[in-house]
């Protein structure tokens, strides 16, 4: 789960990482009120969970009262990579003489968090890695010991950073580690970490991602879930503990297991069409869950055909068949459903479905995908 900049900065401030004065605004009038409190010049920043915010016009410098509402209005009425802007961070503009990057992220191969410091902040770290790798230093953190100060000094020294900045850098890195560790983060990032003319450091932008698997013990974040980018159908699916992601094609699919679900989507593409969704019903799904899954797929107006691919391990195919049978009466006219059952109790499942000639059955995954694609092409647009 990704946090907004303003949320990350609240955590930064709580841990003593310097951040500019700021406030949130949902309307141009609120933006004006916040700016009046903190004083001009201010920066207006769209609070959307997307990169490339600056380039998309989501960040604007405002020098005085006469320009604020029009600028706020422009950003609030814009979309950034398709996401409508609903909220602005109004922040005191800060002078700075240099920009660093400081972040902690999990390295999957090492199975350790790594601390990353760069003397080229302000642009995405991946870009620095490509264009000026000598300006990045990183070090693994032992998760049992936590971040030690010598690690931060080693990185600062490696980059030739002015010694006067080492102390504040150690302090900020220690605070970042504390957040990373305590909040079950998978990423914490300050970019840019600005060097002010007075020689101190200040976080001008922040990113945090929290491990979804740890949300059960990070309950504070559940309240922040307003920003989870979900369609209403995805929300509905979540209620039934179905793993559903809406996509752009017109073949709906229902599969048990994430890997097999991806493979099924790939087969649809191989057969000449595109999947309308990813849907993993998980292991051991009950008839009710299967029925809910099919109902959700059928509600998607893009869907012209449905491909159901079940390889029973824990999941029993007869149970799946019962779930499908329960919602067959609700099948929209003109929709084709192709079912492929294999593994545990496949024979029993197929027998149940033989009573419903409106369902097409297939032996193998690829043949099922081909039938679904063929059927979808026969539906008049």
């Amino acid at each position: 789960m990704k946090l907004h900049e303003y949320q990350a900065k609240l955590f930064f401030a709580r841990e003593g990482i310097p951040v500019p004065k700021s406030g949130l605004a949902n309307t141009p009038i609120e933006a004006r009120q916040v700016a009046a409190e903190i004083g001009y010049p201010v920066v207006l920043k769209a609070q959307v969970l997307s990169g490339g915010r600056g380039k998309a016009g989501g960040v604007r410098l405002v020098r005085n009262d006469s320009e604020i509402e029009s600028n706020a209005n422009l950003i609030l009425n814009s979309q950034i990579r398709g996401i409508p802007v609903q909220r602005l961070l109004v922040e005191k503009a800060v002078d700075y003489s240099g920009e660093f990057y400081l972040g902690i992220v999990n390295d999957r191969s090492l199975a350790k968090p790594i601390l990353i410091l760069s003397s080229s902040g302000g642009i995405e770290i991946e870009e620095v890695a490509l264009t000026a790798p000598e300006r990045i230093e990183k070090a693994a953190i032992n998760p049992l010991l936590g971040l030690q100060n010598y690690t931060v000094r080693a990185l600062a020294s490696g980059l030739g950073i002015d010694y006067a900045l080492w102390k504040p850098l150690q302090h900020i890195a220690a605070a970042l580690w504390k957040l990373f560790d305590r909040l079950d983060a998978t990423l914490v990032e300050i970019n840019p970490l600005a060097v002010t003319p007075e020689g101190s450091l200040m976080a001008l932008d922040g990113k945090m991602t929290i491990d979804d698997n740890a949300l059960y013990r990070q309950k504070d974040f559940l309240e922040l879930s307003d920003q989870i980018v979900e369609t209403p159908t995805e929300q509905e699916a979540r209620k039934f503990c179905l793993n559903y992601i809406q996509l752009n094609g017109n073949i709906g699919c229902m599969v048990n297991g994430a890997g097999l679900a991806m493979a099924t989507m790939d087969c649809i593409q191989q057969a000449g069409s595109e999947p309308a969704n990813f849907l993993d019903i998980g292991g051991g799904a009950t008839a009710d869950k299967v029925a809910a899954a099919l109902t959700i797929i059928m509600k998607d107006p893009k869907v012209k055909a449905v491909l159901i691919n079940i390889f029973g391990g824990i999941t029993r195919c007869d149970e799946v068949a019962k779930g499908l049978a329960a919602v067959i009466p609700e099948m929209p006219v003109g929709l084709s459903i192709v079912v492929r059952l294999a593994g545990t109790n496949a024979e029993e499942g197929r027998k149940i479905l033989e009573n419903y000639p409106q369902l097409l059955q297939a032996e193998t995954l690829m043949s099922a995908a081909k039938i679904a694609v063929r059927e979808s092409m026969q539906v008049p647009a």
Binding site: R108, A214, N243, A258, G259, D266, G313, A369
Partner: protein, 288 residues
């Protein structure tokens, strides 16, 4: 021969009195009579599986009484890292974690602990290990594979079953099938499994089933190029997956340039691996 474990394994099931744990212990016992013990805190002294298998409160007790050397874990995600660490502490040789949804932070600690131990961890979020005709540690259905000389290693569960079933339908047998798990941090990676298959005299060819997310497949490709002499076939799931959406598995997510199917497929092709683009195609391209 098999990799990781053989028919002499003494299997302990952690969480044996739970619904999943009990069901799959029965399946494992029916496949090969290797389950010697179970643990379930508070259930020490009970017996399960037709009153033939003792239940203990702790892994250490179970090991002392039954010489258990392999543990299969079925406990809920919030307690699973704790269960793995208990087995490491008790010096269980091979730990197979089926549980899904363990927080990454817990897994970082587990990995740090593993570095200082002799134990090997498979998973978490793994379907386990199946050596057809010999032994099964986990939830891979025994009926889908026949004994043979093809090694299978995968990040997925049911997708692995699909591929193994295709092999069986083509009368191709499997030496060992290992699911390394669909999480970002796992105990044993592709490279280690490839290494084991490369040195296993009873494996002639290897099938690798990967998916989007991380760079495990790229690392595997590099290893295959330099260290693997046996033919390798690979399938990568998720060619149609969008960026920045986690496709079910915690590990299956394309972030920026990292983790795309294309990058993995290209790396594997460069390493001389033969790619198949849908599960059934393996039967057409594999040469036995």
């Amino acid at each position: 021969m098999t990799i990781l474990l053989n028919e002499n394994a003494h299997i302990l099931v952690q969480g044996i009195t739970g619904r999943e744990g009990l069901y799959h212990s029965e399946r494992m016992q029916a496949y090969a009579k290797n389950v010697v013990a179970g643990t379930s805190p508070g259930h020490g002294g009970e017996w399960v599986l037709g009153d033939k298998v003792p239940v203990f409160d702790t892994v250490r007790d179970a090991k002392e009484s039954t010489q258990a050397d392999t543990s299969v874990i079925f406990v809920p995600a919030y307690a699973a890292a704790d269960a793995i660490m208990e087995s490491i502490e008790a010096e269980i040789r091979l730990i197979v974690c089926i549980s899904e949804g363990i927080p990454i932070k817990d897994m970082l600690k587990v990995r740090a602990l593993l570095e200082h131990s002799e134990s090997r961890l498979i998973g978490p979020n793994s379907p386990g290990i199946l050596s057809p005709g010999k032994v099964k540690a986990g939830i891979i259905p025994g009926s889908i594979a026949i004994p043979g000389r093809v090694g299978v290693v995968s990040r997925s569960g049911t997708l692995t079953y699909e591929v193994v079933q295709v092999l069986k339908d083509a009368n191709i047998g499997v030496s060992t099938c290992v699911g390394i798990g669909g999480d970002p941090i796992v105990g044993t990676n592709f490279v280690e499994c490839l290494d084991l298959f490369e040195s296993d005299p009873h494996t002639d060819q290897i099938i690798l089933i990967g998916e989007i997310g991380g760079n495990e497949e790229e690392l595997a490709a590099e290893f295959i190029l330099n260290q693997v002499t046996k033919p390798v076939y690979a399938y990568i799931a998720g060619r149609t997956a969008p960026e920045n959406r986690r496709m079910g598995h915690a590990g299956a997510i394309i972030e920026g340039k990292t983790g795309s199917a294309r990058s993995k497929i290209e790396a594997l092709l460069r390493a001389g691996v033969q790619l198949f683009s849908y599960p059934e195609e393996i039967a057409e391209i594999i040469r036995i």
